[in-house]
Symmetry: C2
């Protein structure tokens, strides 16, 4: 699993890492049941602190993307991953709203907006198949 962290970004490292792991799962680079490095090994590989990786793992565990076995270590959820819950929909709506408000204000139509979203969806699908 190849990770690239931007230390100059205003996005916290633990969130960058979380996103890229989710992307790995989404595109199939990380298969269900596949192991992830230990917090110490991953931290060393990425040149960051153990606690930063641990923070990321805790978030992913909380969302149901990964499981933490006392024996097997950290593993991509081998069963069904997290689904579209009510809680998630609320969060998604909260995050989308301000973005759409600005898009609307700039004169972007919902068709244009949806086109951009669809394109990102297709890119993910292609990565998953390719």
């Amino acid at each position: 699993m190849l990770i690239h962290l931007d230390f100059q970004s205003d996005i916290p490292i633990y969130l960058q890492l979380k996103m890229q792991i989710i992307e790995g799962i989404a595109t199939g680079k990380l298969k269900p049941g596949e192991s992830l490095p230990s917090v110490r090994q991953f931290a060393e590989d990425l040149g960051i602190n153990l606690h930063t990786v641990n923070k990321t793992y805790n978030l992913l565990k909380q969302d149901g993307f990964i499981l933490v076995h006392r024996q097997k270590g950290v593993v991509v959820n081998p069963d069904e991953g997290p689904k579209v819950t009510e809680e998630y929909l609320t969060q998604l709506h909260t995050e989308l709203r301000p973005m759409i408000i600005e898009a609307f204000c700039r004169g972007m139509s919902k068709e244009e907006f949806n086109k951009i979203c669809s394109q990102i969806f297709l890119e993910l699908k292609e990565k998953g198949e390719g």
Copy 2:
């Protein structure tokens, strides 16, 4: 212009204020050419610091949503507001990507995702007409 700030939110106040002003412009509650309170007056009304309002105004000015005349004070851009620039599209894409990755990972189809976006668009349109 009615503003509600959530001091418990993890979203910074200056961003909450920025979003709500843009929403006001989007929904027509703030008309082109309309005046906004001075930094001091607005800060007093909202119970926050002068500099927090100033930070918001500077961001809105930078994006072209408002103008700052030495005489007239702060005014909603009376001409055409900011449009869909290349820079904006890049930013939008960067913000949308992680959200769509998670949606995709949770098994949400692009049709479902677009439906949610469309609904938010329609809500804004209704507010603007109503």
